[in-house]
Symmetry: C2
Amino acid sequence: LAENFADRLLAEMREKKSVVCVGLDVVYDKLPEAIRTDPDLNDPADTQVAMDAALEFCSRVLKVVAPHVAAVKINSAFFENHYWDGVEAYYSLVQDAQSRKLPVIGDVKRGDVETSAAAYAAAHLADPTFENLQEGAAPDAVTVNPYFGADGVRPFLDVAAKQGKGVFILVRTSNESAREIQDFADASGKPLWRHVGERAASWAQGAGLVGKSGYSSVGAVVGATYADDLRVLRSVMPKSILLVPGYGSQGGTAADCAAAFVDGKGALVSASRSIVYAFNDPAYNTRFDSWEKCVEQAAIDMKNDLNKALGA
Amino acid sequence: LAENFADRLLAEMREKKSVVCVGLDVVYDKLPEAIRTDPDLNDPADTQVAMDAALEFCSRVLKVVAPHVAAVKINSAFFENHYWDGVEAYYSLVQDAQSRKLPVIGDVKRGDVETSAAAYAAAHLADPTFENLQEGAAPDAVTVNPYFGADGVRPFLDVAAKQGKGVFILVRTSNESAREIQDFADASGKPLWRHVGERAASWAQGAGLVGKSGYSSVGAVVGATYADDLRVLRSVMPKSILLVPGYGSQGGTAADCAAAFVDGKGALVSASRSIVYAFNDPAYNTRFDSWEKCVEQAAIDMKNDLNKALGA
């Protein structure tokens, strides 16, 4: 039987002494000049060239951050907008990260009725079974939208239980207008995000999902931008690892994120732009000549910032 | 300026005298024997061969149903599970349907925070801009998950307004466990699905979205399996074209679907398996030798069944 995803992820956090998840959101115009001006990579209007540039960039980012982060989150949107070449690059990048022993979260935010959800689970979470696929690998976990309820989530949980994979349910998203839908509240004042959290907590206790660590392979996405809600959800979902976006560029602080942890465990804090584009930030590019050094230092700073807040 | 999507879709329904949308959900094992045993197409373990078979099947389905349906819905999940070859086939199929003058709804159910949603809108709704793309086209409309609220929906609305495209917000999905999330109700008894319907109705009135017909390019997905809710949502979203799944295999009847219409207009009823796999149904395969004839007759029967219910 495959090792439980939550156990694997917690072991990685322990070994790296890091609760950081680096998010790879690739936008060509933001890539380092050295890559954008490479004669082989300087044509963003060609899907293949743009993705070659993205892979070159991400591979070099992974190399420098690998010792300092516990996981990688890859946002599928920034590959899908390069059509099938983008999708091929996405799976290739998953494989690259896994070859560096980094657990990969496919940030695909899929959700559908059961039959279609099963097809999405096969595409994005299960190990590939096609005989002609020589390259590309499936992520270790995916993000899933809860709007369809249990039957839309079940196919993902089935793969998670059978193949040692993970699922992160979108519970409280980090964006401003999350309130418009997720704050909709019942007669007792309970908001939708809490109702979804309670459902996710119940899904997390399904057969084959809770590991030796006591944590489940079913986690939840909860934005650092709603720190009070994060505190509530931590107690609503005691067995779930919380994936916390919103640190850095979106305004969440290490102190905000600390509410996601119990005894320094049980959450993973994700940042994308503030790490991978640190070379565009004067706080780094005035100190280091190499763009990789900026990225590495940003990852180290985030790790230390969070560890300090958790130690306190 | 591109013609408004709602106006285009309503014109197509008027011309075809049909409110039917055929859904293409491709599962290799269900394909006609003639395709599965074709020496060039009989290897479902190869992504390329499986997708060649899917395209051959879908193309022949489109040819026979085109005179009888007003639109085509293509479910991305059944292509994504064939990785990048599947995604290439998906865009190729979109182009095939459009070459037959059929409006295409990309059933992708995406939803994310604004930056990522913009990348998804570029991938799945906007016309491609990459110079190397010689084939493949973007759908005329997409389905969008509302969980992130307005800022996650806005990038899709922007493309819709600028390029004459459409958006269908998931409001009341057709599956059983939709109740688990969407029936969550406020102090006045108003359920989430109605709250989302109200938000969608407001999004539908955005700049550049309402056409000469009075209908908006922002429609909504409302399952025929919840006929009472369909009636409520029809009045909550007066300017929205309702995309109604759940007819046929999922149990919705023509009488259920009739609640989605006002004066015979304003909705599109979608069916997938009951049409495209009609050749596996004794009601058809005992009457016709050719699988295409079964599919064609199922489309005609659905069209007539709905027209009769709407005329009544």
